[in-house]
Amino acid sequence: MPSAPTLDHPFLQWFGIDEAIIHRVIAEAMSRGADFSELYFQHVRHNSLSMEDGIVSRASTGVDQGVGVRAVMGDQVGYAYSESLELASMLRAATAAATIATGSNALPPQAISLRATPNHYKLGRDWDSVSVTERLPLLRKAEAMVRSMEPAIEKVSIGWGDSDERVLVATSDGTLCADRRPMARLNISLTALKDGKRQSQGSSLSRRIEIGAFSDERLRELCKEAIDRTMILFDAIRPPAGEMSVVLAAGASGILLHEAIGHGLEADFNRKGTSIYSKLLNEKVAPDFVTVVDDGTQENDRGALNVDDEGVATEQTVLIDKGVLRGYLHDRISARHYGVKPTGSGRRESFRHVPMPRMRSTYMLGGPHSYDEIIKSVDKGIVAETFTNGQVQIGAGDYTFYVKSGWLIEGGKITAPIRDVNIIGNGPETLKNVVMAGNDARIDYGQWTCGKNGQGVPVSTGMPSVLVKKLTVGGVNG
């Protein structure tokens, strides 16, 4: 055991551990010859409230805590976790994780030192200090705003959630880092009744922000957005079926980047050769005005992280630079495989899960064209404006996203609202078919959650208005 300096961080006390305990558990995880191991301590406290029919009648709270122990041997992984932070339980998990290796040459653990991390989500107030009586009025206020703005709204359902998460990562190569991660969300779901027909839609806001960020003005915007999105559906039609031009409206259309490009550039898929992008590094894949990044450093962003779930500093990673494919999203294992620095993209849903390369905030920088110019250039097509979900097949490159609402374009003009169509395309082909990009880039603040191998993590996404020459739009045959 090295004679290390005394570690000092409030989370050590929070989890009831010290350097000697960390050393013992890491040594056990390495005991069969693993070349790396790590302990991921996590404590999450979350609160949620929901309002239906004018009553905030449902509240939930939860506490989840535990430690995940990982032993790595090359690209092989042993993993186990324990909800109990008693030494004996942690050692049992470490013994199970160690079985991925079969030797006996245990490396001696390194002295551990605490590494400072930046803070991309400074809050004036922690969620721990906010009482339920402060949260309740926000839901009531939002409901009253909706009711006063639009009489056709029949049902208003409002969901609230906030969480306060403490993470401590200790690794066998001697780093210890801590992160306290806040998250808040407000969802508004509406059903409106008009001429005997009903339509439902909503809006959401979710970021690493404090209660003060839910100002009256912000609530009003969110309510208006939910109402506008719902009411437009009454006039919306299904577009014609088949291939056509698609204009992706600024903001939430970033879901296209997430599905069509982002997942395919997660390095684990490329390391295994299962991504359609596996052989395209440094190739020209899109026009010059296309630059796409994945960023963990956006202030208060839903996808921001001070440090990733493997204890690696986050960064802004350039995926496509002026049309050229430049980089993958790496965790420790893939970075070692490719002989590059990890990009701070190793993420996991909780201490029960193995980290993998994941996106954080994926967005495209603004381009040279104006929105009006883009619309004018389209003879027959649609604008995709609001979305619900998307999916991709990494190998074939086929991806989809579901357009909840948008607009029909005929002869360079917007002619009618549209709704409920799935759009399907192929990643590399779509990139080649990007013909214009707007100067109106922005990040969407909605509640996006990315799923991969059964693990969900919060992300965000953004984009300028973009014209893709040809995508397959679900619709009706005339």
Partner: protein, 438 residues
């Protein structure tokens, strides 16, 4: 293990009542599992899980909340429950929020659901690794394979639940599952992928691991040369493994919560025709040796066989205590168990021959459905049907329509229900479906 969980649940219930709750529900769940992933000739991942958590629901002076924790140390737990009761006092009164009626707990079926098979949960590690090696070898039996990953998981879960008005129940079940996912190289840069995964509470109910890998490879090879067909209005044949995605949209709209919140296209349709008369659906919680079977539901309501749709006519909704009270309806059960279909007489081959031409779908890619209107649009993968047979692979296409319209166009049902899911969906054939492609 269940006795220990029951004891802990009773302690938690007492803590809640002592802290001032008028009524309370406490549930403990526990489980362990082991999983292995084997890829391209070597073991890639070993994972062991063991989890115990507590959930409590509190009814305090007409107010309600629910809470969960994995920190079960006695002092921490006591404080957690006291805080939770305190928090509940600050919420709003809701007259519809009451503990489920104790009458609904009566007459629980006296039946052994046969959900525990120690051959599944206590699999020998070396035997498991041997299976994975065999699956991995079989999955690579084609020179075009870029990467193949085989997975094996097995475990056990148990839970206990008690309520302050007399309900007490325990459950336990085992599970084992395995499968392979395979990516192939195709000229032109595409890397088509496919897989096959099966799971069950009984080890002997599953096909041999190596057969599963062989089927995964067959499916991946079948994806080679996939094209986008022209847009068309045509016949849709859905494979049993893919059917739950459309049937689930219909069943989702049967929830009392969706109806009360005006978000269901099946509201006011009980007793009415909602599908072609070929469709008969039953919620059957009492089928032995099925993972989704149960003797009581999540509220403790004793499980009953419930007709959902009979010859196309909607017979029942899923009604829990809360939304039942709001709607003035008696509770049935809040959620699905096993979905049983009235079956046809033909197998898939015969149904494809009858269809003549159209599209066969065996997996989906994204898409969604609006529960309020029933309007949907879904990405599809599958094959063309030409001259009564499956031919070339298709992809990058969508189907678009409305759930009620789709099910009114159901023209045939197979005799081949899927065995490894709570939805025992057979082959389904629909006419006049809108496909978008080239």
């Amino acid at each position: 293990m269940v006795d220990e969980l029951l004891k802990q649940a009773k302690l938690a219930l007492q803590l809640a009542l002592d802290a001032g709750a008028n009524d309370a529900v406490a549930g403990l769940s526990d489980g362990y599992s082991t999983s292995f992933t084997y890829r391209d000739g070597k073991l890639e991942e070993v994972k062991q899980s063991a989890s115990r958590s507590l959930g409590v629901s509190l009814y305090v002076d007409g107010r309600y909340s629910n809470h969960s924790t994995t920190d079960l140390r006695p002092a921490e737990l006591k404080r957690f429950i006291q805080d939770a009761v305190e928090l509940t006092k600050h919420l709003e009164r809701d007259p519809f929020r009451v503990i489920p009626d104790a009458k609904l707990f009566a007459n629980r079926a006296q039946l052994d659901l046969d959900q525990v098979d120690r051959k599944a949960s206590e699999l020998n590690r070396d035997r498991g690794l041997e299976w994975l090696r065999e699956m991995d070898a079989e999955a690579h039996a084609d020179t075009r394979v870029i990467s193949a990953s085989s997975h094996l998981g097995y475990g056990y879960t148990a839970s206990a639940r008690v309520t302050s008005n007399g309900f007490s129940g325990t459950r336990e079940s085992t599970g084992v599952g395995y499968g392979s996912s395979i990516t192939l190289d195709e000229p032109g840069g595409r890397r088509p992928e496919a897989g096959r995964h099966v799971g069950h509470c009984h080890r002997d109910a599953l096909p041999e691991p190596v057969t599963t890998a062989k089927e995964a490879l067959r499916r991946a090879v079948e994806r080679l040369g996939s094209t986008k067909a022209p847009s068309a209005k045509a016949i849709l044949v859905i494979d049993p493994e893919a059917g739950s995605n459309v049937v689930g949209r219909l069943i989702g709209a049967m929830s009392a919560g969706a109806i009360q919140q005006k978000r269901s296209f099946l509201a006011n349709k009980k007793g009415e025709r909602v599908a072609s008369e070929l469709l008969t659906l039953t919620d059957d919680p009492l089928i032995p040796a099925r993972q989704s079977s149960r003797l009581f539901d999540g509220e403790g309501i004793s499980a009953r066989v419930m007709p959902l749709v009979e010859n196309g006519v909607l017979r029942n909704y899923y009604i829990d205590t809360y939304y039942g009270k709001k709607l003035g309806w008696d509770p049935t059960t809040g959620g699905t168990s096993n979905i049983r279909f009235g079956l046809g007489t033909k197998n898939q081959e015969q149904l494809l021959a009858d269809a003549g031409s159209g599209f066969y779908v065996n997996s989906w890619l994204g898409g969604n459905c609006d529960g309020t209107t029933g309007d949907f649009s879904l990405g599809i993968r599958g094959h063309k049907i030409e001259n009564g047979k499956k031919t070339g692979a298709i992809g990058e296409m969508n189907i678009t329509g409305n759930v009620l319209e789709l099910f009114s166009n159901l023209i045939a049902i197979g005799n081949d229900p899927y065995e490894y899911s709570s939805y025992g969906t057979p082959t389904l054939v629909f006419k006049d479906v809108q496909f978008s492609g080239q």
